[in-house]
Amino acid sequence: MKGLFIVSGLGILAMLAEIFKFKKLVYPLVLIGLIAAYAVNFTEWNFDWSQGNPYPLFANMIRFDNPALAFSGVILAVAFFWFIFANDYFKNETNITDHFALVLFTLTGALMLTAYQNMVTLFLGIEIMSIPLYVLAASRKNDMSSNEAGFKYLIMGSFATGFLLFGIALVYGATGTFDISLISAKIAAAHGALPIFCYAGILLMLVAMCFKVSAAPFHFWAPDVYQGSPTVITAFMSTIVKTAAFAAFMRLFLFGFGPAHDKWATGLSVIIALSLVISNITAAAQTSVKRMLAYSSISHAAFMLMAILANNGDMSVPPILYYTFAYSIGSITAFAILYAISKSEGHDGFDAFNGLGKRNPLIAACMVIAMLSLAGIPITAGFFAKYYIFTTLMATTYKWLLILAVLTSAVGVYYYFKVIIAMYFKSSAKSEAVAFDSTTTALVVITSLLTLAIGFVPNFIIDMLR
């Protein structure tokens, strides 16, 4: 809770920086603030909500229980890495303070999404997160791609919001409340006897959430937006925003609509299957690494959705938590490298990576780790994430999805390895090393090591919520 306040406060502070002329200080302040938020976050760990209340409960609008704190932790940690990676971006942009503010507001929305307990907070969280993102996506004003990305994101996002709201309204109509725990209780008590429009509402919300996490067939915006947005923002979207969206999705469907599982599971399983197939297969044909990563994020979304599909209540949370973290740090590594490379080579195609194995061996090795992790090869974090999802899903009746997941993973290896092959197998006309500043190098090395470390010793994260 305090973390949320700190982050939103930071956002406002960043805005003020313009006026009070301490622009230079904003960056360090933000980093410190994030660390503080992170630290504060965990002081609330294991807080007993039934007992006395040092914080205002806000009528059960928002509740930073353990899963929420864990996801907040992931978001804050990744945000910290992201800010380090994005330092170059913040140096170059003209409207630094605005950017800072927008990013931090988005972050606020993301944190809300991890902890909401009410449809209002869900809705507001999504919008607080999304609206600044629309702007950020479009933030390169003279770049048509960026404009287009922002615009597409906005239109489709608002359209999806419409469905979300319609769904909320229907559910509200059927249950008479916006509180998700009350909704859950009502659904459970009704034993399927609620009016059908209630389930229609749930499904509409499912669709809207699937849109937010970019699952097929509601994924169309993602590749375009990811590609058009500035790389740094793409990284932000594919890590923090995605994590938050999943936290929200999970909270809503596991803790809210869990009792109506039979109504939405079939639809979700189809969505997962479609996402797996479409994302992996389309990614295989990409020539741009950035766009490939966009498609890959769809396939990762499908994996995380599997845990939700399993509907194991609390047991479904750790897999998603782990997955989001593993995926986020892997993506941060990949995007950080991609950012530097595309800046130096002038494009983000696979050929931009040619010969990197010789030119920047260390960076190339980190990229390999990131790719292996995204592809789900042991002992990287990505493997354990997938494994954990597998075990979760294996207990359900949706085993056929696993087979599909396995088959499409093999396709997935194809496009991740295209990068590796380009780095080590193809030769580049240039032989000098691509310039990487020391912060990026350090970040990339740290995230790579982290990828290996949590892949090898995943205990900490998975046992967090026990």
Binding site: F390, M394, L402, A410, Y424, P458
Partner: protein, 487 residues
């Protein structure tokens, strides 16, 4: 603890080698791998004298909440596989002394890393750990092939990687399925080998069939047996010789080893139902690959196909699942490992000295280098399973085992004895005999390192052909235990 050391030491060695520069890398790698061999000898000694010793077991918690442990242990079969690995890796490193690789530190480091993974696969007692090592073995070899391989390596190694990865993903599905069914009464799920065994037996036929096929495919691809083999010849040809040796000498055994220890005892019902199909695949593969080997011109490719034939026999022996079949399989795995390293080294020597591997353009090398001819002949005899070479003991037990399963199956599998002689002798004749050709006139003397490796290989071939008893003694209790387990 010793077993832990077996795994950790190559890792440390790999890191050390990564840190070296230039030619010291290979010397360091050689010394370190020999040290690892010595460690494995210690393990062997321990095992012989006190098989239940604590030193041989390691059981640390790893991911406790998911029932995953870092559990390793040694039985007769895994001991031999470990010995094979630790024995072959120094040879493989030594055999590379005449090849100039750039970035030798990475090259040798990757080999040692691979050694770690291989040893891990062989001694893992925990399903998850097994899978991790299984996959881990794939990465170094992929890079060895990709970075130091020959023509068209990008495409070929990629195919190899995806193919095997796909297989192992299916294996993961199968293993996870098993894992989900562990812990019947207590409800505490576990990855421990014995728990998986127990879980497997309680499954229905339908479930067992699912487990059987999902895991079998992974092993079948790794070995590889027909019809999952098409990645193999290309990969063997393209990979640098040391990579090929690792692949065929050791990595292939992961598949057969897995079949013995991680599949057959788990799914008795499915085995009864599907064993026939798998057996037919293996046996057909023997004939099929042997025939194809006859048609080969490229010597390396010829060995590649012959390896498919051999491994088909091993798989068939395992699938027969009886004392002779299993023991034969284990011994043949060792034999094949040693032989195939010898054969691939010979292919490499041929290529280095003459610039070609096409057997039709070679000939008459015996005139120029009779010593090489003799060493070659011994390796070749080992691979055609002449009695008193290591190949024979295994092959005899294998065919016996298969015979117990079905007489006609054994007869067909036994055809490999004949076809093997056909293609092996044909290649020997084309390469070594006849008049000297221009390509071979300047063949010259063997390098000291090559000669050393070949002599060691030949010595091993004969030694274990004449006196295989230690191997039999070590495997017998392990195999008996496995068979007991199935009852």
């Amino acid at each position: 603890m010793l077993t832990g050391l077996l795994i950790i030491f190559p890792l440390i060695a790999a890191i050390l080698v990564f840190l070296t520069k230039g030619k010291t890398a290979r010397n360091a790698a050689l010394v370190l791998s020999v040290l690892e061999f010595i460690i494995s000898l210690l393990v062997f000694y321990q095992f012989k004298h006190n098989p239940g010793a604590k030193e041989l077991l390691l059981n640390c918690t790893w991911i406790e909440s998911l029932g995953i442990k870092f559990a390793v242990g040694i039985d007769g079969i895994s001991l031999l596989m470990v010995m094979l690995t630790t024995f072959l890796v120094p040879l493989i490193i030594l055999s590379s002394y005449k090849n100039e690789y750039d970035k030798p530190n990475s090259f040798y480091g990757l080999i040692l890393l691979m050694q770690m993974a291989l040893v891990g696969v062989f001694i893992a007692n925990d399903g998850f750990l097994f899978y991790i090592f299984w996959e881990l073995a794939l990465i170094p070899i992929y890079f060895i092939c990709l970075l130091w391989g020959g023509e068209d390596r990008g495409r070929i190694t990629f195919k190899f990687f995806v193919y095997t990865l796909l297989g192992s993903l299916f294996m993961l599905v199968g293993l996870v399925f098993l894992y989900q069914h562990t812990g019947g009464a207590t409800g505490i799920k576990s990855w421990a080998l014995n728990d998986l065994y127990a879980a497997g037996k309680n499954l229905s036929l339908y479930q067992q069939s699912f487990v059987f096929w999902s895991i079998f495919v992974a092993f079948a691809i790794k070995m590889p047996i027909f019809p999952f083999h098409t990645w193999q010849p290309d990969t063997y040809v393209t990979a640098p010789t040391q990579g090929t040796m690792l692949l065929s000498g050791i990595m292939l055994k992961m598949g057969t080893f897995g079949l013995i220890k991680w599949l057959m005892p788990i799914v008795p019902l499915a085995l009864a139902k599907w064993g026939n199909t798998a057996m037919m695949m293996s046996v057909f593969g023997i004939i099929y690959a042997s025939c194809i080997a006859i048609a080969q011109k490229d010597y390396k490719r010829l060995i590649a196909y012959s390896s498919i034939a051999h491994v088909g026999l091993i798989a068939a022996g395992i699938l027969a699942f009886n004392q002779q079949g299993l023991q034969g399989a284990v011994i043949q795995m060792l034999g094949h490992g040693v032989n195939v390293v010898g054969l691939f080294l010979i292919a490499d020597i041929l290529f280095r000295h003459t610039g070609t591997r096409n057997i039709d353009s070679l000939g008459g090398i015996r005139n120029v280098n009779p010593q090489f001819a003799v060493l070659f002949l011994i390796v070749l005899l080992g691979s055609v399973a002449l009695p008193l070479t290591n190949g024979f003991v295994g092959e005899f037990l294998l065919i016996s085992g298969i015979y117990k399963y079905g007489a006609w199956t054994a007869a067909i599998a036994g055809l490999s004895v004949i076809l093997g002689a056909v293609y092996m002798l044909r290649s020997y004749q084309n390469i070594m005999l006849g008049e000297v050709k221009t390509s071979t006139a300047g063949f010259g003397e063997l390098a000291k390192s090559d000669k050393a490796v070949l002599i060691i290989v030949c010595a091993a071939i004969i030694a274990f052909g004449v006196y295989p008893k230690p191997l039999n003694d070590v495997t017998e209790p392990a195999v008996k235990a496995l068979l007991e387990n199935l009852k």
